[in-house]
């Protein structure tokens, strides 16, 4: 699903550089990326999502060479193929839960907001356990509920990949397990590939594979 070769990336100013010779993620794989802060985990997600562009090397995601796409094409690719779940949920505070879930449909032309999509959003919210909170605002939700909304938002367009950037970093241990269950259940149901950046080593056994980013070597779970 993801194939990266001879990748080189430098942030402007020269403070950070990333070089990856080879990095592969299979379709439907649940991969955890670990490593200390500043080792380039989030940069990898941004490169693979086409949010930032590499200087050298190739990035193929879902059989598409990301570095060859224009800005608009990368955006379209991202919206149609990748769902994002962030550590701080990144919900829009002035929208209610329902509007947050369908937000990607309102900010892009490639996704069409139809009554059918609204019904799907309601069904997904009910499945994830926030069906009774659709009209509440983000600030009125608990941390766990906020992350459920973020997961709904990421999954609704039916992405081929889900990128979770410290998705459980702000949750208590009880919620961590539940959110991860939800995420795993839903990606498993649709055969979605999961690429998760995490600092939480307790969660690693649940992934198919773990990549330590600092040493950049693949680790098999115990």
């Amino acid at each position: 699903m993801i194939n990266i070769q001879s990748l080189e990336f430098n942030y402007p100013g020269g403070g950070f550089s990333l070089a990856i010779n080879q990095f592969d993620v299979a379709q439907g794989e649940k991969l955890a990326v670990i490593g200390p802060s500043g080792s380039g985990k989030t940069t990898l997600l941004n490169l693979a999502a086409g949010i930032i562009k590499s200087e050298r090397g190739s990035i193929a995601v879902a059989d598409t060479q990301i570095e060859q796409l224009s800005d608009a094409q990368r955006r379209d690719f991202r919206i149609n193929n990748i769902g994002f779940v962030f550590q701080d949920f990144e919900l829009i505070e002035y929208l209610n839960v329902m509007d947050n879930i369908i937000h990607p449909y309102r900010i892009t032309r490639s996704l069409q907001l139809t009554p059918s999509i609204r019904r799907q959003a309601i069904q997904l919210a009910e499945k994830i356990g926030i069906g009774d909170k659709l009209h509440r605002y983000a600030n009125d939700l608990s941390q766990g509920e906020k992350q459920r909304v973020a997961i709904c938002r990421a999954l609704l367009p039916g992405p081929k990949l889900v990128f979770a950037d410290e998705a459980t970093g702000n949750l208590d241990p009880r919620n961590k397990g539940r959110i991860l269950d939800l995420l795993f259940d839903n990606v498993a149901e649709h055969g979605t590939t999961l690429l998760a950046v995490t600092h939480d080593h307790e969660l690693l056994p649940r992934f198919d594979r773990v990549v330590d980013f600092l040493q950049f070597r693949a680790q098999e779970p115990d």
Binding site: R75, D76, I79, F84, I92, I107
Partner: protein, 392 residues
């Protein structure tokens, strides 16, 4: 795209900030536009009244005071002239004079002493009752009747000139016999009475007990063969009724009775020119003025002041707009994370700009609608506002 929906949600969620911005923009726009509307209306009203008054005769002095008092019943009373001026005008056979004495007030409204010719000249019809016919009768302008809740059959007491002037002008209770049709001019805000009634208010005419028939000798100071000198204790009437109207009389030479101005209605343009020429003489104590010219001069001054006001408003408006831009820029910094999130979700930078533009558009639209509504209200009340704020 759902830019307007998202922008609306954002503005409603941050309603205090949004309303503040709307209020600022509305005030910036409404102030100069309202001023423009009011000045246009004041120009229209002032000029219309002035243009419909051919000439004014008054004492030499401030032409503006003379015009403002005569046309708009302004509180500033010009130097007085006498009825002799009317006689002189009549003697020229060039114009018809309409005397005016507008020195007194009744419950805050000017009392205009004049003759029936005034109503004909101003084309004022009766809405209720009849025209004044007897001494002590008054007809009310439409706004006076509405404001004081008076109708024919009621009475209206003139205000004393000064509370401490015990020997001076006593209030006269006038009988209201009619209410004028609304004319949307200063006449709506005046109490009209016969000029002789205003002289009674002045104290030049009065009514009292018949001194030849009083039995209380303390009321008589001196009896002679030719007359009787009454004591100040003698009861004087403060209301003219059918029972006491015969006792009312005037003292002194009628030609010396005071007026504030005379509206001069010349027979034709030539008569107007001749009259104006005659009153240019140095020896003349009175002057004839062309109200339109005086008001035109006044308007020039008003518009000079307006230009200064406009400049001030532009400066204040620019400063406020800059502050709004700053508020918007700071809010963008606060929203940096939100904007990055929607960018990561697949929103283009152009669409983000479009979303922000939609917010500005809605704020502008609401402010514009509010501004238009306020201007509509100001325009609707401009006639009354101008009379209340500027003319009176």
């Amino acid at each position: 795209m759902h830019a307007l929906f998202l922008a609306w949600q954002y503005l409603v969620f941050n309603r205090f900030r949004s309303l503040t911005m709307v209020a600022c923009i509305t005030v910036i726009a409404v102030l100069p536009l309202s001023l423009e509307v009011l000045l246009d209306e004041s120009e229209r009203q002032l000029l219309a009244r002035a243009q419909s008054t051919p000439l004014l005769l008054g004492a030499k002095g401030s032409a503006l005071d003379l015009v403002m008092n005569t046309l708009y019943f302004d509180d500033e009373v010009p130097e007085l002239i006498s009825m002799l001026a009317v006689d002189e005008l009549l003697a020229t056979d060039l114009a018809e004079p309409v005397p005016l004495y507008t020195r007194f007030n009744a419950r805050g409204f000017p009392i205009v002493g004049t003759t029936l010719d005034y109503f004909e000249f101003r084309a004022l019809g009766m809405a209720q009752g009849r025209q004044m016919a007897l001494l002590g009768e008054a007809v009310l302008g439409a706004s006076v009747a509405e404001s004081l809740g008076l109708k024919p059959g009621d009475t209206l007491l003139s205000s004393p000139e000064t509370v401490f002037d015990l020997a001076g002008i006593y209030p006269l209770n006038m009988k209201i016999v009619g209410v004028l049709e609304r004319s949307h001019t200063p006449d709506d805000l005046a109490v009209f009475t016969d000029v002789r009634t205003t002289w009674v208010i002045e104290g030049m005419g009065h009514g009292h007990q018949d001194v030849s028939q009083v039995t209380d000798e303390t009321l008589i100071m001196q009896r002679t063969e030719s007359g009787v000198v009454a004591s100040p204790k003698l009861f004087q009437y403060n209301e003219i009724t059918p029972d006491n109207i015969d006792s009312f009389h005037f003292h002194g030479d009628a030609r010396e009775y005071p007026l504030t101005a005379v509206i001069v209605i010349p027979d034709d343009t030539k008569s107007s020119t001749i009259l104006r020429g005659r009153y240019l003489e140095e020896a003349k104590l009175n002057q004839i003025v062309l109200p339109e010219k005086v008001i035109d001069g006044l308007l020039q001054n008003i518009f000079r002041i307006k230009n200064v006001l406009d400049a001030v408003i532009v400066l204040v408006g620019s400063a406020t707009l800059l502050a709004l831009v700053l508020v918007f820029a700071l809010s963008l910094r606060l929203r940096q994370r939100e904007l990055q999130t929607i960018f990561k979700l697949g929103c283009s930078r152009a669409t983000i700009a479009y979303l922000l533009a939609a917010e500005i558009f809605i704020i502008g639209l609401v402010a514009g609608a509010l501004c238009a509504s306020l201007l509509y209200v100001v325009d609707g009340y401009s006639s009354d506002l101008v009379r209340t704020l500027f003319i009176n």
